[in-house]
Structures are given as structure tokens and as C-alpha cells.
Symmetry: C2
Subunit: 426 residues, 2 copies
């Protein structure tokens, strides 16, 4: 073992202790635990300490970015997206059908367009790719926060509840597809040898075809794997084979997506989860096992690593103004985009506002998209802090506003028993 | 994310697929799965391919050693030792008491002495430290194989069964302590800043005192943590807090052991597990969660990494002769050391042979000790293949011989339901 691995083990201990502590505190305050994980990362990372003490050379604390940390964080985000795919109930989506799809589309397109406009206004020196990416960061709703609030209010199975839930799922899928296209088109993946060979001139049309080829391949191969797993599951039910093979499949998809098709690894992991989710019984079993891997180790490391990488180097007036506008636009456009579409679909005004507010929370996906944008050179590292701000404000606002909107209408339904207890990070 | 992480994800997929496949095959053949994991590593690693094709520069396959792989493998071995500690039932050990302790001591001291002699005979050019280490590799019995065979034969709760089980546990503890002392005395840990500061002249007496200080610290702090966890468990039973905090504690102990006390990180992890094992209810719960982490990902990676690191560079006649003697001596000395002590304790001859044979299997700990010896510069890298040979031969012999020895005495007890189903890697 290289000599610096014991230091890394010490850092893992610090990360796990601090994320658990801050996660519990956040949960007590009614906020999502991921926020606690990120804040823990900020506290144990170098940013705040260096503001006070200047450069610190200690190899253990404050925890700096390292190759080991990057690898664990990447496996973490791959698992987060894989379980998101596994937990997707495509049947629910089909049931609420076209209405949810339209609401999701409204809530994706309006923030996307507004983000591009905001980028053009504030960062005219950057190109269209960066503006587009600012829009992409705004697109994905975080379903977890909304679901927990609606469940608490007893409204999860109301019309608004089911529509919001389905729309949030669809909006994840749309967001992931837009991310795949944008990353691929904007040259964020120019290191992909296969894509460069097929498409040496960077023709956009060929790139989009190649992305479509990925989805066709992924779903096609996925159906085959899903059948194979079903067969194994039937022969020897609930052995450890299925979870291990599923995790292997997740890594394989992540690798093939990134290295063969030039699509982000997280897209591959998400699609792997989505494909396996169709096989219900084993999807739940696999999800439980992967979630344990994820919550006990990898997810805290991933979210803490975001906090660890936050820097306050370039924070001036301009960027603070931009951050404020970014957060306001991102929240307002979700309310208008989703609520407006709901109105067009014939919802009552009261329910339109509820649907719109139910969609404002941003979480994991926005953070992940931001990381991918920074890696691809499309966003400056300052975005980390800005997206964290959006996640904080929207996660604070969503429960407060939803509770206010439901205050007069106080007849809770019986509590349903769904996936969140396993799916959250407590 | 650095550009080579997607390649690593692809390698993880290959490792998981191949270890699962070979693991299942081994199990079907009645052999321990870890052997399958190591063979899978040998197959996907460079050794065999380079014998056929010469140097291969592909960044993905065959899988070569990398920093990422090392970090995952190290977390893997830390988890393997942590769960070994957690699964230790100190009450069982107390019940069979002094007899088991004497048998374990006989089975540790005789192979240790024989190993030193073998080293002196074959490797006179190496120093006493290396000879000692050859002995240490021989000491630890792998309880898993023996337990599974005895359970299958319905003899796990017989006198021989309980004595073998307890002696194997004690022999793990003795082995770990000897490893700690030997590694520390032979300068395998000279990079430890704290130890160098306390003991600049490398005085052996001070080093041993410092190791004792570690055990006192570890057990003392451990009792405190164990009480704290009991309190948390009582306040909010079976939440995810306990497993996460336990894993954090395991990493903390591994780090402190290595960096503060100059003891191997795996010793720290094992002691952390041992300390938490005294709190029964939560130990089982934590063990289940950590085992899931371990078997779905980390343990296969660790054992495969041993196979990946195997090299056949220096294999000549001398080393093959040494390997043969090593395996024969390691097996014979366990039978004589344990069986002979059993005779002195008043066992019947038939049962003495059974006890001796029940202790011959070597596994995880021998492999781990070998890795630590190679890292510390006390053993040449050829030892990897030699220890793997010992594990293979002894795991093949143990079940065959035990079944023969019990053949005439065929009245199986009712099958007991103990930890192995969760503890094995299926």
C-alpha cells in the first residue's frame, strides 16, 4: 500500500463522523441531509480554514482534494444516480401520463431558456455553451425533499402529489438527456477516442446520432441483462449474486457511456438503474444493498467532497449579484413553468401554485450537473458555491411554502408506506 | 474527476464480474470463495497475459496495479479485518477457556518456530526479521473453511467443533499481536513519525511498550465508544447512525494504529471490531451492514488485487522447492502443534487428529500478513504466489481429510444456524 493510504483512512473517518453529525442536525431542522453532508465537507475542507489561517500544509487536516478522494467520490455519484434509476417507478409515470410529462417539460424548458438568458446577460464574454450549461443546472427538480414534505402533509397520494412525483421523475430523465447532449455537443468530452474517430470534425448531427446510439445500445443490452438476471434470480433467489452483478453492470454502463459514447458516466449509471428497475422484485432487493453501500460510505463522501472543493477565491460583488439572480430565476421559473403548464392542463389555480412550488427544490442532480460542467471546463469552479446556495435556498423554501399552501386544507390522508425511509440517507 | 477514473470504473466492472463467476465455481467445488477471487484477479491481471504476449500497454485490460485500486483494496482488507473482529464471540472463547487457548498457542508457536528454521535453511542471506516473518505467515488458521465443513458434517457443536472454533479465534488474536510486534520491531514501520520521535534509537523494549500502549488505548477508548454507541442505539434503535459511526471508528482505529502507534492498520480495524463485538445486538446489526459493503464491493477487490499483483518473474527451481517445503511444514506443524497439545490436554487420539486437521486451513489472514510483509520490505514479492499456494492446498486438504476422519462416526447433530451464511462471500 502506498504510504499515504493510512492518511486517507483517517480522512474517511473525519468525513463520516462530520457528515453524520451535520446530517442529523439538518434532519432535525427538517432539511435534507445532503445539505448537512456538503456543509460538513465545507467545515473539514480547506476553504474556511485558509480564510482564517492562510495556506495549511498538513497532510490530514484540513482535507484536501486527492486522487483517492476523487475516486471514492466518483463511485459515490455513480451509486447515487444508479439508485435514483433503480427507485424510479416507470409504472407510476405511465399512469399519470401526458399531464405529468407536459408539466415536467414546462418546468425544464422555461428554466433552461431563462438560464441561457441569464448567462448571456451576466457573462457575455463566455460562449453559448456556458450559458446553456447554466440553464441545464436549473432543470432538475429534487424529488426527495418534495416527497417527504407531501408525505408529512398526507398529500402524497392526492392529485397534486402524484403529478408532482411523476413530473419530478420525468424531469430527471429529461435533465439527464439534455446533460448528455449538451456535454457531448459542447466538447466537454473531447478526450473520447471513439467519438473523435467516428466524428473527427465534431459534426453536431453525428454527435447527437451517437448519443441516440448510446440510448439504443443501453436499453437493448439492458433488456438482455435484465432477462439474464431474472433467470439467475429464479434459479437461486435472493443470493448475493444479483446485487454484485448489478453493481458490476452499473460500473460497466458508466464506463461504456463515458469512454465509448462520450456521454457522462452518471448517465450510464442512471440508465443501468432505470433498465433494472423494470424487474421489480429484484430491483428493490438490489436497491437495498446498493443503498447500504451508498449511505454508509459513498454518498457522504461524494457530497462532502463538493464541500471540500468549494473555494471562495473569486467572490466579489458581480458574482454575488449573479448568484442572487441565479437562485431567484431558478425558483421563479420552476413555479411559472410547472404551475403555468398545470393551468393549461385544467388544474385549479390553488393546485397550480402547489404543483409549481412542489417542483422548486433542487438537490443531487443540480450538484452533479455542476460538477460535470466544472470538469468539462464549461463552468468556473465558483459555480460549486452558487449551486450549493440554490440547493440550500430552494430546500428551505419548498417545505415552508408547501406547508403554508396546504394550511387551510387540513385533512391528511392515511400515511402511505413508500420508499423514502430506505432511500434517504438517515 | 481525473480522466482515468472512468477506466477504473471499467476495471471495477471486470473485477466484480470475474470474482463473482470464479467465486461461484469455487463454491460449487466445495472450496472457499476467496480462492476464486484470487484466481479471478490472476486471470484479469497482467501476470499470465504477459507470459504469453509480453508487455501490454492497454490502460484498461489486463488490469494493472494503480493508486485507486490500492486504496479500494486497502479499505477492503480493513473491512475484512473489522468484520472478523465484529464476528468474534468472546463469550464462546471464555466458555471453552484454557484448553482452547493452549491448543491455539501450540498451533501458533510450533509453525512460528518451524517457519524461522525454514527461513534460516533456505534463505541464509536474509536476516532474522525475514525468517521471523515467514513464521508469522504460517500462524493464523482460517476459521471459515473449518466451520463450514464441521457444520456440514453436523459436528460444529461437538467437543472438537467448539475447541477448534475457539482455538481458531484465539489464534487470530495471537497472530495479529505477533504481527504487530514483528512489524514494529523489524522496522517495517520506520516511516512512523510519532514512534521515531519517542524512540529515536529503535530500542526494542520501547517499541514493545508502545505497542502495549496501543492495545491499552484501543481497548480503553473502545469501551468508551461502545458505551456511547449503546446510548445512541437506545435513544434511536436501528437507525443508520450506528453502522456509519462504527465504520468511522474502524477507519479511525486503522489510522491511529498505523500513524500514531506504528502498528498495522488492519490490527487497528480488527481491534475496533473486537471492541464493538462485546455489544452484541448492535454488533450483529453493524456486521450485516459492513458485510454488505464488504462482499458486494471491497472484499472481492482486495482478494482480486492479490491475484493482480502476483508475478512469475523469479520462479526457478530453488523457489519451487522452498514453496513445497513451506506448504508441507505449515500444514504438518499445525497438525502436530494443535493435535499434540490436545493430547497433552487429555483428548483421545482420534479427536487429537481431528483437532489438528481442523486447524490446517489458512486463508485471509495469511494473505494479509504476506501483503504487509511485502509492503514492509521483509518478504520478496514472490511470497504472494507461495502464500496463495498454501491457501489453496490447505483449503483443499482440510475438507477432504476432515470428511475422511469423520467417516466412520456418522451421526450428524441437527444443523445449527450460525453466522456463516452472512459472513461468507456468496
Amino acid at each position: 500500500m502506498p504510504n499515504d493510504i493510512p492518511e486517507f483512512l483517517g480522512q474517511l473517518a473525519i468525513i463520516l463522523f462530520s457528515t453524520k453529525l451535520l446530517g442529523i442536525l439538518m434532519r432535525k431542522a427538517g432539511l435534507p441531509q445532503v445539505l448537512g453532508f456538503i456543509i460538513a465537507g465545507l467545515l473539514v475542507g480547506p476553504a474556511l480554514w485558509e480564510v482564517i489561517f492562510g495556506e495549511i500544509a498538513n497532510p490530514i487536516f484540513p482535507i484536501k482534494r486527492s486522487g483517492y478522494l476523487d475516486a471514492f467520490a466518483e463511485v459515490g455519484v455513480v451509486f447515487v444516480m444508479f439508485t435514483a434509476g433503480l427507485e424510479t417507478n416507470l409504472k407510476d409515470v405511465k399512469d399519470t401520463g401526458i399531464v405529468s410529462f407536459l408539466i415536467a417539460a414546462g418546468g425544464v424548458l422555461l428554466p433552461l431558456a431563462a438560464g441561457v438568458g441569464l448567462g448571456a446577460a451576466f457573462l457575455p464574454e463566455e460562449g453559448f455553451s456556458t450559458w446553456l450549461f447554466i440553464g441545464v443546472v436549473m432543470t432538475a427538480t429534487s424529488v426527495g425533499i418534495t416527497v417527504e414534505v407531501l408525505r408529512e402533509l398526507g398529500k402524497l397520494q392526492s392529485k397534486v402529489g402524484t403529478v408532482v412525483l411523476s413530473a419530478a421523475i420525468i424531469d430527471d430523465v429529461l435533465g439527464i438527456m439534455i446533460l448528455a447532449v449538451v456535454l457531448s455537443l459542447t466538447g466537454g468530452r473531447t478526450d473520447n477516442a471513439v467519438l473523435s474517430a467516428i466524428n473527427p470534425n465534431g459534426n453536431s448531427f453525428v454527435s447527437v446520432l451517437w448519443i441516440l446510439a448510446f440510448f439504443v445500445f443501453a436499453v437493448g443490452a439492458g433488456i438482455g441483462f435484465s432477462k439474464l438476471f431474472k433467470y439467475i434470480e429464479k434459479k437461486s433467489p435472493h443470493t448475493r449474486r444479483i446485487p454484485i452483478l448489478s453493481i458490476a453492470l452499473c460500473f460497466l454502463y458508466a464506463f461504456v457511456a463515458e469512454k465509448v459514447f462520450g456521454v457522462a458516466d452518471i448517465t450510464g449509471a442512471y440508465i443501468a438503474g432505470l433498465v433494472l428497475s423494470t424487474n421489480h422484485a429484484s430491483a428493490q432487493y438490489v436497491d437495498r444493498k446498493v443503498t447500504i453501500n451508498s449511505y454508509t460510505l459513498f454518498a457522504p463522501i461524494f457530497f462532502a467532497s463538493i464541500g471540500i472543493k468549494i473555494g471562495f477565491g473569486n467572490f466579489g460583488g458581480h458574482i454575488l449579484l449573479f448568484a442572487a439572480c441565479f437562485v431567484i430565476v431558478a425558483i421563479a421559473m420552476k413555479i411559472i413553468g410547472c404551475g403555468g403548464t398545470a393551468k393549461l392542463c385544467g388544474f385549479k389555480w390553488k393546485d397550480c401554485v402547489r404543483v409549481g412550488v412542489g417542483m422548486i427544490a433542487r438537490g443531487e442532480v443540480a450538484l452533479i450537473v455542476t460538477e460535470k460542467g466544472i470538469e468539462g471546463g464549461l463552468l468556473s469552479a465558483d459555480y460549486r458555491a452558487i449551486t450549493v446556495l440554490l440547493v440550500m435556498v430552494s430546500s428551505l423554501l419548498a417545505p415552508i411554502l408547501l406547508k403554508l399552501l396546504y394550511k387551510k386544507d387540513d385533512t391528511p390522508l392515511p400515511l402511505s408506506k413508500t420508499a423514502t425511509e430506505e432511500g434517504s440517507y438517515e
